[in-house]
Amino acid sequence: MSRRRASDKAFWAGGIVIVVIYALLPVAWIVSLSLKPTDEITNGKFLPQHPSFDNFSDVWKDPQFPSALRNSLGIALISTLLAVVLATFAAYAIVRLDFPGKTLIMSGALAIAMFPPVAIIGPLFNMWRSLHLFDTWFGLIIPYMTFTLPMAIWTLSAFFREIPWDLDKAARVDGATPFQAFRKVIAPLAAPGMFTSAILVFIFAWNDFLFATALTSTNRARTVPAAITFFTGSSQFDFPTGQIAAASVIVTIPIIVMVLLFQRRIVAGLTSGAVKG
């Protein structure tokens, strides 16, 4: 029996190693590519022979990348804030209050989660031009907020169902209005769920490419995924592989930090909401 346990253990340990390699190999590759000096980019080796940070300093010096990074951060953070606030109101009402139409709201949200964004980029493009939202931060914040609201509402409702509601009732028995009960008692209990959905919303907004290419045209609002794709680099003749790799590494750092710090929350959020943006 114990021999079988040992071989079992070795089998699953091997599995763990394979999974970790599977997950991280492409990331290791892009890091290694970003550290290759220009003359090594095409040498076909996995690792750089003489690592250098030239690609990083080049990409910072280029005007496209720093502004794209600023746009990405600003747009993703504002979208996250708005989506989580609106979703919190809605999820609280859906879980706690009795009113007709909540099933409709939940299924409508689910339908939007499955909605193909490409189906509305034409109308949005046309509307944004006449509303002067084309190539602005809000032109992207509005669709990001919309497409993450369903995920946020579902995740938050799942978390809210777990909250000990007797505390809320107790507060209301003590004379608190529903709104006071919400603000003083439930909001602090709800914070972990809000934080989790905030991470998921942020990842969506940080990741989006379709809206970013369709609804922006300049450094004013172009976010990192779009900027990297259309990056031309300093020389017209060489494709800027190294610089794209360096930019990719920089924008992957926030994701890795979040994953390391909040792994448990992200897993809980993804599986409780079961809705991916």
């Binding site: 949005l124 493009f125 509402i153 890795i256 993804l270 599986t271 079961a274």
Partner: protein
């Protein structure tokens, strides 16, 4: 619930009003940014409306749909999209199961495994697409050096497919595996143990007990991933931009609307994509009985 709804006491009424008030902002935003534009797309799809010739603009009925549907490009792109979708979802389902079991059995380093697999989930799709493209590219890549070949992967359809599908699979299997793991956790362990006592082999336990009990979770995971894979855009745009006949329906929609500025024709493509998504969702819900509320362990 109906009893309390009928009692229109002051309290019930104010609760109802508060409920609507709290939902109103989210609902308004969702309606304005999805429902209204899809109706607008429906309207545009019936118009001749090309932004390069803004004066030549008017109602043309179903001409745009006829133009799209009688064009081989749409059908070819639809087939490409379906091939990529089916291939990625099938591979992801198998790999996702393997990953879920490793995560379940991980007696050490559970946090390490979960953090590691969340990296592909969280990474920007464009970045993932570039990483894979550079890896397979014959000038910058290491794949050819490793396998001692000089294949140019992006000059043929099948090999471009291989890279595109691999990228998709790498990026989205973690999501699939987490959903499968959550479903697996809901399987009552007593049933599995009882089958084991009765002498069922591991393989029999998997097929006769675990998978049937996980069916709702599997269906939901597959439905979400199918709809997600069907709108594939970023990976193809970065890796081939639709060359070598790898164009997807989202790419053709984007090219018609944004690159060629033909809002009429492009909107017809958009509406058709929307219709495809509705059909896929309908098939899953009606045909396979995917119950979206069940996965979450809720009472409907």
């Amino acid at each position: 619930m109906t009893a309390t709804a009928k009692r229109t006491t002051g309290r019930a009424r104010s609760e109802r009003r508060l409920g609507w008030m709290l939902c109103a902002p989210a609902v308004t935003v969702m309606l304005l940014v999805t429902a209204y534009p899809i109706v607008y797309a429906l309207y545009l799809s019936l118009q001749r409306y090309d932004l390069r010739f803004p004066d030549d603009h008017g109602f043309v009925g179903l001409d745009n749909y006829q133009a799209v549907l009688s064009n081989g490009v749409w059908w070819q792109d639809l087939i490409n999209t379906l091939v990529i979708t089916a291939a990625s979802v099938i591979v992801e389902l198998i790999l996702g199961f393997a990953l879920a079991f490793v995560m379940y059995r991980a007696f050490f380093g559970r946090a390490v495994v979960r953090s590691a697999i969340l990296v592909p989930y969280g990474i920007i799709t464009v970045v993932a697409a570039f990483a894979w493209r550079f890896a397979f590219d014959p000038t910058t890549g290491f794949v050819n050096g490793l396998t001692n070949s000089d294949r140019s992967w992006f000059t043929e359809q099948w090999s471009s497919y291989v890279v595109i599908i691999s990228t998709e699979v790498w990026k989205t299997t973690p999501f699939m595996s987490l959903l499968l793991l959550a479903g697996f956790m809901l399987v009552p362990q007593d049933a599995v143990r009882a089958a084991r006592v009765d002498g069922a082999s591991a393989w029999q336990r998997l097929w006769k007990i675990i998978i049937p009990l996980m069916k709702p979770a599997i269906l939901v995971a597959v439905l979400f991933r199918t709809l997600d894979a069907f709108r594939i855009f970023d990976t193809i745009y970065v890796q081939t931009r639709g060359a070598q006949n790898t164009e997807s329906v989202s790419i053709i929609g984007y090219q018609t609307l944004i690159s060629r500025l033909n809002l009429g024709l492009g909107s017809a493509v958009s509406v058709l994509i929307f219709a495809c998504v509705l059909i896929i969702a309908f098939v899953f819900v009606k045909g396979f009985g995917a119950n979206l509320a069940q996965q979450r362990g809720e009472n409907p």
